[in-house]
Subunit: 657 residues, 2 copies
């Protein structure tokens, strides 16, 4: 095997590792900040423009995307958007009413929330597919978080005020994340977290619907499965209303059947999209003619006619409950945002266009701020409605405008028609929508591919179902962060060996046919060296050396003389890491071993240079590749005793080969 | 350049990337847990032993190190330890009294704390150099954290009870960290954090000493510089006692001078070690003869004779202040631990022996639990005392036993001698010790080598000096964690180029002479791909591709046809990361580019295999090295149009070369 290296070392001089010239501190800081906050370089086009007026126009178009696409809008687009808009309106009305109930708000607030926010989003949003509306999980969260503070039954006025105040702060928080380019915070809700969290929230929401379906009057305010089950089974069976139950089961069956068919054949999709409205109409007609409202089937009752009243005076900035409103706003805001941004991104991928996460956040934030001033509560881009919008063939955000107009029409003229709509139908609609969100297939995929991601998902699910929505979220985010910190705190280290008949060195774990080089130990470290792992690495490296020496001793062959550290995967290092290397160097010196570095990266070599470590180890012991380092070690092994090699000799070797 | 690659591709077949066989889940879990919690494999020796009695002995020796080294103890060792022990006792008595005052505890408690804990540590500790005693920063923390809850002046009994209770919980917390093998939590206090934190705490402690030196009676309970300065300068100058001030300055000058000399010439070290005791003797004699206690120089007063009384009944488990005691215990415990373990490790390095961090934690924890039962407050291994111990030539932990015996002697017979010891001397001793801890040289080194570490250090310092000790700690740990998370959230990406006359591919940023390969873009990602960076990487990779295409278009040369991802530094991947790769693949497909992977690592290739991504991309597009991937791309570029390459053709190419 030795010949292979000798060939190399003879054929050309080893390459030197370059130390990049030091850049001024401020320049480095600027480029780092730019890469952190503006990785997509959003103003690239803007910079190229020479004239100021053109720059202004591009700038306006950047912040208000409708200015960019409206001039190119055609009649063909409008036809498609009209159909899609009416379709999502037929979903928006029953969903709006249902989710408002989930949030313990008056049903009409749900309709208001499907009127103003979609108009704002149509101006500012960069997605062509997102359909704006209220979302189930955030609605439930508002109800549990605010309900602990103020009872929606006893003090509905104050409760409503806190809800719009929370919406206001959610909007401010979302918009600030976008303005401050901190959109990446949303990325910390990983795919696994969202799968578990959504499934858990859907389970919890379904459980809550048992109240409506069983026609119960008294019900727990807690959301965890234990409280809900206790609340249901401690009631005498007289309190369960069988009329309500049967009606609920029928509609649920109807809704699930239509979804099943629309999933199997895409041309059945219209049935699915229209099913909720059909259920509402059927249910209302049934109640109207059978007077079921007198037999235990609760109905919506009177809905006020007219458009959104202003709610600026309802913002409760002076309230003693302000902190709760702010907390609710931030938590529901980030969850609504995560759903909206993820949904927007997924559909943009299908259609192959790009969505700017930070811009979306500004759009969602503005829409909620405006909404909070016009009697709306928290809205986002719910998955179900957006999917219907996409399937109905929407082309641009105009479908949101069409939906808003249709809802406006409903608010102005049709609200009396909902008087007899039974609550149990709304519960069925919510339940059907939620059952679709329990994504056990995704959970199984996680288990198959990545056990740790499955643990995150399970943590979120169990936390939500047995604890509360916030508990689940905190557990999942905590487990995810621990994983990342563990990756850094306990980086993988491993020995490299030579792949036969090549100059390639790879992990001997992954490539069992890789052969170790006699007298040389090649160690690879798989993470940046930071304070969190410096102590661990020092001990682990010294254990590797001890074990290797023991192994060689027990075999009775040649002793260990060189330790090569392959630094390819060390992306960065801090001062604790440099101390660690200094100690490793001292340790190898004591054992009369030579420490050799291979392929230190730009950031690392810069810091090693500044801290004088390069001088300590000797520039001639730093190689560009493992192969060259091994070649040099082999040369030393065969020509002289390395234990007495001086720097001068090493230099000589360097220029000879 | 093309010929270089063709040479390679003709000379040998490309190597295949191995997919390691899937291990059973439980086995992986076990080996991961072992690597995380037992990286040092502490029971390696134990497992080799065949007999049960030998195993028991080794196990006992593992937990009680004195059993291991006592049989080898010699008289020569004892002579050295005796000298060292007496030397540190001469330091322990004045320091013990001073730090107890800093903690607002009776001076005698400081002496108690130098008697029992050193005895316990001598049995259990694995360091040969650590000298056990109370520490300044933890003393100050106890005083500020407990002082907010209970006044040490108005309710000294309850305050003392809370202090021993806090010590008990600190011990329990420290010992549990050790037992649960969670010692790495201490590693999260980075070198930079400790430099800034210690300097800040030293500044704060010095400021507090102005009270003693100026002989002030009324003084603020806050520790931040603003409150202290206001407290000093709002007092009329009549309240400043010039007698006390002059005495304090003289002793401070004396102490600093002796330290200065002992640093320059190591044989002056004895002067430095004896200086505190000398100051105390001189000060007491001076006061005794001049009756200065009647002229504004405060003295210690009566000290109780006798050994530590038991304090089991003082543990205030039923107190309403229990939570504060627990919180104080945990925070002071971890800080004391960090200092003790770091000090132990540093001196072990000098003498070239190994310290087991987790075992040290158990020793420190047990010593504090036992201490809390015998009227001691929190102890650790302070740097100053340990350094004196080391310099005085200690050989084993027997020097701690000698010190404990000397302190016992003091407690039994000498306490009346301290009646006239002026407080101002104690303040000078603390101040002199603290001034040595303000490590501006280390801060300057941090600035030079790593700006971010300097920011951490500065954050800790400013937080401690202008806020409180806890604020500083939280700021520093938060900044440190943000750095690690940013590393993961915003990994470096960069283009690779060919180093001329070689088959080596390296970052074109670091090696400006590296040449890009026509039609091929080689992209390197420098971190594991996790949920936190998956979105960023997707956008960044697509921007790299766009920019590269723009560049090639503007040059009018050949168009981009291959994108090679160098996965060498991707240590791990999660399901969000795999989705990201799938999207990158879709994106390149749409642009009619070929995506090629180079050197995926063991963990990554396993997951890519399980998630079917290997099938999507095609096994034949995964290469062991960038050079082989480039060679294959070049072959394709020169023989056929890659836009119409089918998998079959690619396979053909594979077996031909």
């Amino acid at each position: 095997m030795g010949t292979a290296f000798d060939d190399t070392s003879r054929s050309r001089q080893p390459h030197r590792v370059a130390i990049p010239p030091a850049k001024p501190f401020l320049q480095t800081l600027k480029s780092n900040l730019k890469e952190t906050l503006f990785p997509d370089d959003p103003f690239r086009e803007l910079k190229k423009q020479p004239s100021a007026s053109r720059k202004l126009l591009l700038g306006l178009q950047y912040f208000i995307p409708i200015l960019e696409w409206a001039p190119r809008y055609t009649f063909a687009f409008f036809r498609a958007d009209l159909v899609a808009g009416i379709t999502i309106a037929s979903l928006a009305v029953p969903q709006g009413i249902s989710y408002a109930q989930l949030a313990s708000l008056p049903p009409i607030v749900g309709l208001y929330s499907s009127f103003v926010p979609p108009l704002v989003y149509a101006m500012l949003g960069s997605s062509r597919d997102v359909a704006v509306g209220t979302v189930a999980v955030a609605s439930l969260l508002i109800s549990t978080m605010l309900g602990k503070e103020v009872s929606p039954v006893e003090n509905p006025k104050l409760y409503f005020q806190l809800a719009v105040t929370a919406t206001f702060f959610a909007g401010v928080f979302e918009a600030s994340l976008g303005f401050l380019r901190l959109g990446f915070i949303v990325d910390f809700l990983s795919h696994a977290t969202i799968v578990g969290f959504m499934s858990g929230a859907a389970t919890v929401v379904c459980l809550q619907q048992l109240k409506g379906i069983l026609g119960l009057v008294h019900f727990t305010h807690e959301t965890d499965i234990v409280s809900v089950m206790r609340s249901i089974f401690t009631q005498t069976h007289q309190q369960w209303r069988w009329e309500s139950g049967i009606l609920g089961c029928c509609f649920l069956f109807f809704l699930l059947t239509t979804r099943y068919f629309s999933k199997r054949k895409s041309y059945f999709f219209w049935i699915n999209a229209m099913a909720p409205l059909t259920s509402v109409v059927l249910g209302s007609v049934l109640v109207y003619f059978t007077h079921a409202e007198k037999h235990g089937v609760q109905v919506i009752g009177n809905l006020k006619k007219g458009l959104n009243p202003l709610s600026i005076t309802d913002l409760a900035f002076g309230s003693p409950h302000l902190m709760v409103a702010i907390k609710t706003g931030i938590i529901t805001g980030i969850i609504a945002l995560a759903e909206g941004v993820a949904v927007g991104r997924s559909f943009a991928q299908y259609k192959n266009y790009h969505i700017d996460g930070n811009k979306e956040m500004i759009a969602f934030g503005t829409m909620n701020i405006v909404g909070s001033l016009t009697s709306c509560y928290l809205t986002s881009g719910p998955f179900s409605r957006t999917a219907v919008n996409y399937n109905a063939g929407c082309k641009t955000a105009v479908s949101n405008i069409v939906m808003a107009v249709a809802v406006m029409f409903t608010l102005l003229f049709l609200t009396p028609l909902f008087h007899y709509t039974p609550l149990v139908v709304l519960s069925s609609i919510i339940m059907a929508a939620m059952l679709g969100l329990i994504d056990y297939e995704a959970a199984f995929h996680l288990w198959k591919v990545d056990k740790y991601d499955f643990a995150v998902c399970l943590g979120a699910y169990v936390g939500v179902v047995f604890g509360s929505v916030e508990t689940g979220l905190v557990i999942a985010v905590a487990i995810s962060l621990v994983r990342m910190l563990l990756f850094l705190a306990r980086p993988k280290t491993g020995l490299l060996g030579n792949i036969p008949n090549s100059m390639i060195y790879r992990s001997m774990d992954q490539y069992p046919n890789a052969e170790s080089v006699p007298g040389v130990m090649i160690l690879q470290i798989d993470a940046p060296v930071y304070f969190a792992n410096a102590n661990y690495l020092r001990e682990r490296i010294s254990r590797w050396i001890d074990e290797e020496e023991d192994k060689l001793k027990s075999r009775g062959g040649s002793s260990l003389q060189f330790v090569i550290l392959d630094m390819t995967s060390i992306g960065n290092i801090d001062t604790s890491g440099i101390s660690m290397l200094e100690e490793v160097k001292k340790n190898t010196d004591r054992k009369e071993l030579k420490l050799v570095l291979a392929n230190p990266r730009s950031e690392v070599i810069k810091k090693l240079d500044k801290s004088q470590f390069i001088k300590t180890i000797g520039q001639e012991w730093i190689y560009l590749t493992v192969a060259e380092a091994v070649a040099a070690c082999n040369y030393m092994l065969h020509t002289c005793n390395p234990k007495h090699v001086t720097t001068a000799e090493a230099n000589g070797q360097d220029s000879n080969v």
